[in-house]
Symmetry: C2
Subunit: 346 residues, 2 copies
Amino acid sequence: MNVNCPLPVNGVPGIITLGHGSGGLMTHQLLQTEVFDLLQNDWLDQQHDGATFSLNGKVAFSTDSYVVSPLFFPGGNIGDLAINGTVNDLAMCGAMARYLSLSFIIEEGLELSLFREVLKHIKAAAQAAGVAIVTGDTKVVERGKGDQLFINTSGIGHIHPRAAIHHNRIVPGDVVIVSGEIAAHGMAIMSVRKGLEFETEVCSDTRPLHEMVGKLLDCFGEQVKFLRDPTRGGLASVLNEMTEATKLGVMMNEVSLPLNEQVAAACEMLGLDPLYVANEGIMVAVVSASVAPSVLGALRGMKGGEQAAIIGTVTKEHAGKVVLESRIGGHRVVNFLPGEQLPRIC
Amino acid sequence: MNVNCPLPVNGVPGIITLGHGSGGLMTHQLLQTEVFDLLQNDWLDQQHDGATFSLNGKVAFSTDSYVVSPLFFPGGNIGDLAINGTVNDLAMCGAMARYLSLSFIIEEGLELSLFREVLKHIKAAAQAAGVAIVTGDTKVVERGKGDQLFINTSGIGHIHPRAAIHHNRIVPGDVVIVSGEIAAHGMAIMSVRKGLEFETEVCSDTRPLHEMVGKLLDCFGEQVKFLRDPTRGGLASVLNEMTEATKLGVMMNEVSLPLNEQVAAACEMLGLDPLYVANEGIMVAVVSASVAPSVLGALRGMKGGEQAAIIGTVTKEHAGKVVLESRIGGHRVVNFLPGEQLPRIC
């Protein structure tokens, strides 16, 4: 039995079939020809039910399933998201991702070329983020019971020795910073779905944030009190979760919100509030007021942080609420996103 | 904004909608009312992007996505599988599962009562296996783009100090043991799908195997050379993977295979070979010949191991092949499952 025979198999050229999820020969062939060589490392080479390694000290552990539609969009694809998203979830815990798991749920009929393309992006994103994909799983569901490809990644990373990230460390007077322009990812997806055209393409901001977090923690340690990447639900949801947990308020300044012109125009056109639109490459940091200008300066000197801005302050007033001061000086409460705005954005 | 308001929300009684995957208020409410309280622990209480804890020493890390259909079947459900399956993958690495992640991909329209029922089984299975669900994710896809509920769990566990499990430690003469009757899980699923009726119900064998593995390693340490749970693809696939990796053979004895009568009858009726049918509560152990009788005795004294049997021997002959000696003394090669036999069995 030659397991190195190339796909296509069973006379079906270049299509993933139910047999590829059987756990038998076809699964074995798919993994051998498409996955193991590409993502090669010592752990994956063992082809065991799991990967084994040594860990010492404090670690973070996170998981996310990615169901973004379409699979490819301006600035990225589901493969990038699946790596960067979990790297970023760990980074928000103050951890540098090291080991990732990778699990596919494939709809029967997915073109093999598309699967390969996603795998290439997974490899590139993993290399860029310095993580090893050490274990995985592949399932195939019948046509009409999935949607091309869903990916789960889970990750483990060592926590930075100076990290002390917890919402209970936030006090009134702390400063809220975002590391870049908001709403780009969501609008990139929407521009494809709605067939919108702009002078310059609206691109997803998908990007790993671990280096940015690492440098901030190197320099500012426990002065960095809270980190969160505003993905689904956008900036508004992250800030509402924070104010709910801390029983403090946030006063946010609309003028200071970094927002790309094209993205703003796209939001306007579709009647979407950029505060609720998903991001995949920025973070919210709550830091001590004393270091806020230095943190801002540091972020602006980093790749991906050039547009960082101080957007608000933690307050004792408006406990549990996020209040936005508008361009014309009015105040409004920014609630949680009440329903669904942009399904399957990540 | 009262986040403790019970579901139903938005006038849709007891149904999961796209809004529950928005990352906004409805996601928040679903998690608060249905998940966090039920699965409560110190890590989950933090409601961060990931869980943090300390680890010291050798660990195993594993992932699996569960797409079983139907969600409930005799002897178990997707919730049991999602916990036991990952606990068992870790056990096969010689590790005792400790921390699990839990990620849902829900099809819009799933009944909330069904989701709750699955969650209850998840909780019970996690308690039975002594694992904490420390982090998670919830996505919702549109009707017709999923199939009720898919679950991913990933897990981390400490490796037993006496574990030395690697296929490269297997030598000719080693003995192959299975811990229980084969093919029960797959036939339980098939009996539902095909509406088969038997005198007594054919039940899935889903069960956590960590205690069994722990006890074997306590007693026999490095004499236990290889462990694998024969899920998708069944016993035949696990043995083929082993012979391929070791370049050794396995001579297996059909008479000695533990197989329940009802399960055998169901396989016969559907024209399925039990060697390829999925299991969820047994394992294959390859052990030194000198301890094989003691291992067998130990297994038979454990819950879930009563039907354990020595089923074969590792051979220098038939390199890379699994050979079955039939009841009437004939020999045949048992290959990898060539195509798909039972889709979505786990």
